[in-house]
């Protein structure tokens, strides 16, 4: 949906790990989006049909993911009709879209081209986040790096 709408984004997190060969299951999609005016407009329009809402927030809050909301915030943890989505203007460690793009790979997913952060950078981002719960995932990613041809 985002690719069809020409939204500029880079997949990080669990789905990027899966793309690289991780055996872990992930529930949410983490993306870093480009924060230009045009791209934020495209992003908001692409997500509107999925009724995005703040994950964990009580129902009925006057939340609307429009371009103004996106510009006033940075990172959003959302629930949508298509599943959980983490929209990040910047991943921990200075990972903006512009900073990550040189360290990303364009991959074909069911006929669509999407940018995924490369494996080494994915490991760096997880190490930068410094969360104890990521240690096991980092170990798997580093093992993947060793196993890659």
């Amino acid at each position: 949906m985002l690719t069809h709408a020409r939204v500029e984004f880079i997949v990080i997190g669990g789905f990027a790990a899966t793309a690289h060969g991780s055996a872990h299951i992930t529930v949410d999609l983490d993306i870093v989006y480009r924060r230009t005016d045009a791209n934020v407009d495209r992003l908001a329009r692409a997500l509107e049909p999925l009724s995005p809402y703040l994950r964990g927030a009580p129902p009925g809050l006057p939340f609307h993911l429009d371009p103004d909301t996106i510009h006033r915030g940075l990172n959003f943890t959302l629930v949508t009709q298509a599943g959980d989505l983490d929209l990040m203007g910047e991943a921990t460690g200075g990972g903006t879209y512009e900073a990550l793009l040189p360290y990303s790979e364009l991959r074909d997913v069911a006929g669509l081209e999407c940018w995924f952060v490369n494996l080494q950078t994915l490991i760096r981002l997880k190490r930068a986040a410094g969360r104890p719960k990521d240690l096991e995932r980092i170990a798997e990613l580093e093992a993947l790096r060793q196993e890659e041809p």
């Binding site: 789905f15 899966t18 793309a19 060969g21 991780s22 055996a23 299951i25 992930t26 529930v27 991943a91 921990t92 460690g93 200075g94 990972g95 903006t96 900073a99 991959r107 074909d108 997913v109 069911a110 995924f116 080494q120 950078t121 490991i123 760096r124 981002l125 190490r127 930068a128 240690l135 096991e136 980092i138 170990a139 798997e140 580093e142 093992a143 993947l144 196993e147 890659e148 041809p149």
Partner: protein, 66 residues
């Protein structure tokens, strides 16, 4: 003035004792199997596993030996 490089670039990839400990338990046979797949196949496989996990999570006990 030159922009500073992003912080993640300076994150060390040197071995860490905690990560190395977890690495010993990584099932590399699963990784090697996944590395034979295309990106699309890897993602489809993960989504299928996720759907199965959801099915199991919502399942009810039909019988119990005790």
């Amino acid at each position: 003035m030159e922009p500073r490089p992003p912080a993640f670039l300076s994150v060390s990839l040197d071995p860490s004792p905690a990560i190395e400990a977890y690495k010993r338990d990584v099932d590399r046979t699963l990784l090697r199997e996944n590395l034979r797949l295309t990106t699309t196949e890897r993602i489809r496989k993960m989504i299928a596993a996720l759907r199965f996990a959801e099915t199991v999570r919502h399942s009810r006990v039909k019988a119990s030996p005790t």
